[in-house]
Symmetry: C2
Subunit: 343 residues, 2 copies
């Protein structure tokens, strides 16, 4: 399986490290027989080798230089889109970061171009699925290719897999979850008396908050996630602009502490459901009673409640996910592509 990898941040490097591990004990991962033929970053250069890049060398080069050496002009595609459109590969793995401002671009164009070339797509970037789900789904269907995105939500916990395989015959009626770890962490810290800004600083030092945490704190990240979930699980087509959204920037330590004192901690909750035949989605801070399993979510944890017409609600929960989980979510998708391709 020839992979074109877009993005080489934490997740990309973890994936490369798993795929390149010499002592890889995982039978199935070895069976994947993955060859990375290109690594393209948006700002730190690119690498190509039609016979397979040495991932160990790529990791070492990136570690030392913070990027790849400039490519000789003219000989190789210089942009990610050019690479998607011209390199010879089987699966596009899109790991660039979410852009709300640009409506999921440039990742959306990468996915479109790959699907139009009848390539499989594994995407960890929420943007394209949050902004253009039905279009991409349609492209994938018409070219009979896989469009998988397990790592867009809950760091690779198998939420989409669960819905595809475990809820056959059911219609998803409502979703509710705590999907953004920065706000959960910040709210937990405020409960202990820290200010918003110092809590954000802690989260950045711990490595899971973005340098620009606005997307997290204002609820855009959670909004994008609930869109991907609702689009995929309820076959809808909402975008983050359809989500009624309020963030946590108005919450103070006093408010957070007072809520905890009443046994109702505040968390940023994302919800989606159908109302009068139309999809509705909301992201807002809510007080959660301790009897609700969502109230246990703390630190970098996450949880999602799925309500269907056939079963009583089920929840899937992560206690302390890391970049490892996101990388394994991508790997799980790659294994599914590989299984589907092997009759």
């Amino acid at each position: 399986m020839r992979i074109l990898l877009l993005g080489f941040g934490h997740v990309g490097r973890m994936l490369a490290s798993i795929l390149s591990s010499e002592q890889n004990v995982h039978h199935k991962i070895r069976q994947l027989d993955a060859t990375v033929v290109g690594i393209v970053t948006l700002e730190h250069g690119c690498l190509y080798n039609p016979h397979g890049i040495s991932l160990a060398e790529a990791l070492e080069q990136y570690r030392i230089r913070g990027g790849f050496l400039p490519t000789a002009a003219g000989s190789k595609p210089r942009s990610a889109l050019e690479a998607v459109e011209s390199v010879d590969y089987d699966v596009l793995v899109e790991l660039t970061t979410l852009s709300i401002e640009h409506g999921g671009e440039p990742a959306l164009s990468h996915l479109r171009a790959a699907l139009r070339r009848s390539k499989h797509v594994v995407c960890a970037n929420k943007g394209p699925l949050a902004f253009a789900y039905q279009e991409l789904r349609g492209l994938a269907r018409s070219s009979c290719r896989q469009l998988l995105f397990e790592s867009t939500v809950m760091d690779g916990a198998p939420v989409f897999s669960l819905a595809r395989n475990g809820l056959r015959g059911c219609t998803v009626k409502a979703l509710s979850g705590i999907l953004n770890s920065t706000t959960t962490y910040v709210l937990s810290q405020m409960e202990r008396g820290f200010s918003l800004s110092s809590a954000v600083e802690h989260a950045q030092q711990a490595g899971f908050a973005e340098r620009q945490p606005r997307h997290d704190l204002e609820g855009w990240d959670a909004a994008a996630k609930i869109c991907v979930l609702w689009n995929a699980l309820a076959d809808a087509n909402i975008t983050p602009h359809d989500v009624e959204r309020s963030g946590i920037t108005h919450i103070t330590p006093a408010i957070a502490q007072e809520a905890v004192a009443r046994s109702r901690p505040i968390r940023l909750v994302a919800r989606a459901w159908t109302e009068a035949g139309r999809p509705r989605a909301v992201v807002r801070p809510e007080e959660i009673p301790l009897s609700d399993p969502l109230s246990v979510v703390s630190g970098t944890g996450a949880a999602l409640r799925i309500e269907t017409d056939c079963m009583n609600p089920i929840l899937i929960m992560q206690e302390h996910p890391s970049v490892l989980d996101t990388a394994y979510g991508v790997l799980n998708d790659l294994l599914l592509v590989s299984e589907a391709a092997t009759p």
Copy 2:
């Protein structure tokens, strides 16, 4: 798809009611095109019709008489095993109740006989999978038939489906969960001051505790469940007799209340893991700190934590499952059989 149904208790009747629903809005369930050619109970008679039993009539007959009319001697198989061995069907749906004393029998013999005849098996009875997992798995593999049992654990919440599809390439390292609702309910009631016997009576009145609650209270039910889980998820072959087991009969309201006062409610926890290359499984009452999501499980809820070598732990949780969920677990398995059969 021609179904032979063994057992017509709460789950069997709910399944029949879903399958027979005239106003069935579920596209996929209609597509299943299920024809029940036999319903065999262990004590309440049987019904056969190679062209399909009217499930509405069967439900009505059962409601009025508490069973089916005696079959004319000689003309029809009179025992479940005879039916499994002689009736013409595609899928055996085994819904009889767990027998620890008889090592999973007679359900185990039903499954063996069906798989030897190259029939698919969907089983909600824990016994056969808890006592003879590898043998049955081997029979299913060698006849290229499906052996599915989603409803054996957590009332049909898609635990096995999640493990099959969402954890590709991972090795399951440990499981821990609260899997028996009677003990959870009884412990919750004891926290409120009720005695063990009156709590059991409540649970029986509410309809989810067995008339003979010994299996639940002594941990046999949870032991059987952790065996099915560990056997299927870790490809092992343990039986309930391999489980270090202690129940909750020695817990008093005072003990339960004192634990809650220390913010560590007692729950019956089932665990399995590998130690020095050998499987270990334990069922015992444990004090659970409130920071552990398992502590939120109350009433008829259940939860399972899955630890693998690839990802940080994930949890799947049910808040208030009912017989509806168990029946839909069986249906989800039937839909998978049907999909796998349609290329």
